[in-house]
């Protein structure tokens, strides 16, 4: 049965890695609904958080094919209850709307906050699950919503301790023989040299 899953992928820092991962979803005709990537607490190791609408059996096979890529450490597929996650949305609204007392109440009730305010417009920020962000957008629409922008997902895996310990061990290892060359760091640290 199709439902929303979170896929996390731990990678080396290498040009084109996004492409290598996404093409595996493309081959099976699966649409990626959001993708977030950033460096993890381990320097040089990146985490991709991908949300997709699909079936678990299919995704388990996809995760296997992602892990086959050379520059991937691990990839996982998570059910909704295995991850703590948030998304973030920004809403740009005409400043005139502030003259309407209801909007302040709406902002408070939704735990949103004003990031910036000009004569012309103000920008609201809210974090939460996708549906809450979309709901707020609908509520703001009558007040003259100018622009809406939502991020992909950031997620923490509930059972991640052992894997992250493994990643920390990795960080003690030299990335690979191209690392310094590609990024033009002339000096190899003494620590790296000793490994």
């Amino acid at each position: 049965m199709q439902k929303e899953y979170t896929v996390t992928v731990y990678t080396e820092d290498r040009i084109g890695i996004t492409n290598r991962i996404t093409v595996i979803f493309t081959r099976r005709g699966i649409n990626i609904t959001s993708l977030t990537t950033a460096e993890t607490e381990i320097p040089g190791v990146y985490k991709f958080i991908i949300t997709v609408l699909s079936e678990k059996t299919k995704l388990e096979k996809i995760v296997g094919q992602i892990e086959r890529l050379i520059e991937i450490h691990r990839a996982f597929v998570h059910e909704e209850d295995e991850v703590v996650y948030q998304e973030l949305a920004l809403y740009k609204i005409s400043t005139k709307a502030l003259q309407n007392g209801n909007i302040e109440q709406l902002i408070r009730e939704n735990n949103a906050r004003i990031l910036t305010l000009t004569d012309e417009y103000f920008v609201l920020e809210k974090t939460g699950h996708q549906q809450e962000l979309i709901d707020l957008q609908a509520k703001l629409a009558p007040y003259g919503l100018i622009e809406y922008s939502k991020s992909g997902r950031v997620a923490i895996v509930k059972w991640s301790r052992r894997f992250h310990d493994h990643l920390k061990e990795l960080s003690a290892l030299r990335p690979d023989n191209l690392k310094e060359a590609q990024y033009g760091n002339a000096e190899v640290s003494a620590e790296e040299e000793s490994i």
């Binding site: 990678t11 080396e12 492409n19 892990e67 050379i70 450490h73 990795l170 690979d176 060359a181």
Partner: protein, 584 residues
């Protein structure tokens, strides 16, 4: 294309610098060649062009150490490198230029990726400053080849060249082998740097040798020891791991019949008493139907291709499945494994052998022989020993098999002749079956046979090719002539794209849409390339013609005009359960 004048000055002769102590200050181009030598490369298949000219120029100084074979099309270079890799066990190396040179590699890369063949392709690329500007002969070869290579990388600075090449060879040849592409911009080829080469044997995100789970091996042994009707499927992984002897030892110890996939052929000698035949859509009858009768299925180094399983939901559903496989992504991909041993075939089979108890399964094996009789009666006998009608592909293959005593390297193309040759050639030695399996690349055989011969010059190499396939890559006759590659070429000519025609006959109401071929005179074509040949149309002449071909020193082309509308049987209709295999 001929822009010799814009090249950097030719480096001083290599001998002069060879005496100097490391690190050498040399161009990126020379670094490419020295890196290849450090990896033990002796043969390169390639084709020069603008963006790779500095590398070809550097090669000029090393002709005594590296033999470059000039092909006639870059696709030919890839298939030749595949043939070379599969017979020699070394990584095949290809050179090509940017743009069209690079895009011509695509088919061969995809083929090598599907069939797990170690290959390193080095392509020239426009200068780094021109990347992304639609420069002359620029193409995004990294983007294009990403899904069909095990790994690829673009190098834009000379100091990255040795590291990239070291990684390329490590990745191509380790774990489940595959093709790798290294794209080197022209500025990186031309600039000088301090060269030092270190082989790569470690990448922290890559684990080519799985840690075998001993418990899984014990569970597998337990299943096998308890089995009444155990059955081994031998795949390409057995050959890649060099585990043929271990597989045979296991089969003999526990008296287990062994069937082979298309790419697993030649791992077990066809005349071995436990060998029961070849699996798949056009494989033998017994091994296919018995898959659905065994109680423990031991799949070794294979990936349950749809040409083997037919309808997956009705494939071996009665059996417990033991899957020995080095690539974790293949485990549970198609067929759920009851016990998965994630390991190299050799490691796993060695471990299993110690745990498996001697057993006898005479009745079960006898069942295969009885099923064989049906195939023999309905198909094999009249295919191999016909007395009337046009020549049969099978009798030609039988003659070649007899005259070479099953010891030749058989290179086949794709289609009816491939299935017939795979069915009837009686392989004796490992790694003597070279074919395009997963991709089914027509045009594979002629260039692959060149590489196969260069990889094992001591062996007879016979390419069996259909008339359609031959015309896809026949320009490589030029390479065969120029590089004096003594391959024997057999064209089984039925004036049809036979396999497509067979499907049209069986599944499309005999509507022969665009499958009939009006062919040239193949012997005359060979003659144009100074390759002797002969055309045979009568049964009376075929034995003498095969003898003449085998006894001829050097390349030879034999065209055999065979029955026009013959079909390959047995056949499992596409998507049907294997039990629906048809003998006629």
């Amino acid at each position: 294309m001929q822009q010799k004048d814009v090249l950097p000055m030719k480096p001083e002769p290599a001998e002069k610098r060879a005496a100097t102590t490391a690190p050498l200050n040399i161009t990126g181009s020379e670094a490419v060649i020295r890196s290849l030598i450090a990896e033990g490369v002796e043969t390169i298949f390639g084709y020069p062009g603008g963006a790779i000219m500095p590398i070809y120029d550097a090669l000029y100084d090393f002709q005594d150490q590296i033999h470059h074979i000039l092909v006639r099309h870059e696709q030919g270079a890839t298939h030749a490198a595949q043939g070379y890799a599969r017979t020699s066990g070394k990584t095949g190396v290809v050179f090509a230029t940017s743009g069209p040179g690079a895009t011509n590699l695509v088919t061969g890369l995809a083929d090598a990726y599907m069939d797990s063949t170690p290959m390193v392709c080095i392509t020239g690329q426009v200068a780094a400053a021109l990347l992304g500007t639609d420069a002359f002969q620029e193409t995004d070869v990294i983007g294009i080849t990403m899904p069909i290579t095990k790994w690829n990388i673009q190098v834009t600075r000379p100091e990255d060249i040795p590291g990239a090449i070291a990684k390329a060879f490590y990745i191509a040849g380790s774990g489940r082998p595959g093709p790798v592409l290294v794209d080197i911009t022209k500025n990186a080829q031309a600039a000088k740097f301090d060269f030092k080469y270190e082989k790569c044997d470690y990448i922290r995100s890559y684990r080519p040798v799985p840690v075998m789970d001993k418990n899984a091996v014990a569970e597998a042994a337990e299943l096998i020891n308890g089995a009444k009707r155990p059955y081994i499927l031998c795949g390409h992984g057995v050959l890649l791991a060099g585990a043929e002897k271990d597989l045979i030892a296991l089969a003999e110890k526990a008296s287990i019949p062994v069937a082979s996939t298309l790419l697993g052929l030649s791992a077990v000698p066809v005349d071995h008493p436990l060998y029961v035949g070849y699996l798949g859509m056009h494989g033998n009858y017994a091994p296919n139907i018995k898959t659905n009768e065994c109680d423990v299925l031991i799949a070794v180094g294979m990936r349950f291709d749809d040409r083997i399983t037919g309808d997956v939901s009705q494939y071996a559903s009665q059996a417990k499945v033991v899957h020995i496989e080095i690539d974790a992504a293949e485990i549970n991909k198609i067929i759920k494994a009851d016990v998965a041993v994630h390991a190299d075939a050799k490691t796993a089979l060695e471990a299993l052998l110690g745990l498996v108890k001697p057993a006898k399964h005479d009745e079960w094996i006898q069942g295969f022989r009885e099923a064989d009789k049906q195939e023999e009666e309905k198909v094999t006998r009249k295919e191999l020993y016909p007395t009337e009608g046009g020549l049969k592909m099978a009798e030609v293959v039988r003659l070649i098999s007899e005259r070479t005593e099953g010891k030749a390297v058989l290179v086949t193309d794709v289609g009816q002749h491939q299935m017939i040759a795979s069915r009837y050639y009686r392989f004796k030695d490992p790694n003597t079956n070279i074919t395009s399996g997963g991709m089914g690349t027509m045009g594979f055989a002629l260039p692959a046979s060149m590489g196969a011969k260069v990889g094992t010059p001591e062996k007879e190499v016979v390419a069996v090719i259909g008339d359609g396939c031959f015309q896809m890559t026949l320009q490589e006759l030029g390479t065969i002539y120029q590089s004096e590659i003594g391959v024997k070429i057999v064209i089984l000519n039925n004036n049809f794209l036979g396999m497509v025609r067979q499907w049209q006959q069986l599944f499309f109401d005999k509507r022969y849409s665009s499958t009939e071929m009006v062919n040239p005179d193949f012997v005359q074509i060979a003659k144009g390339f100074f390759i002797p040949g002969r055309k045979v149309t009568d049964r009376a002449d075929i034995a003498a013609a095969v003898d003449e071909m085998i006894s001829h020193k050097g390349a030879y082309l034999l065209e055999v005009v065979v029955e026009k509308e013959d079909n390959v049987f047995p056949m499992v209709p596409a998507g049907a359960p294997i039990s629906h295999i048809r003998l006629e």
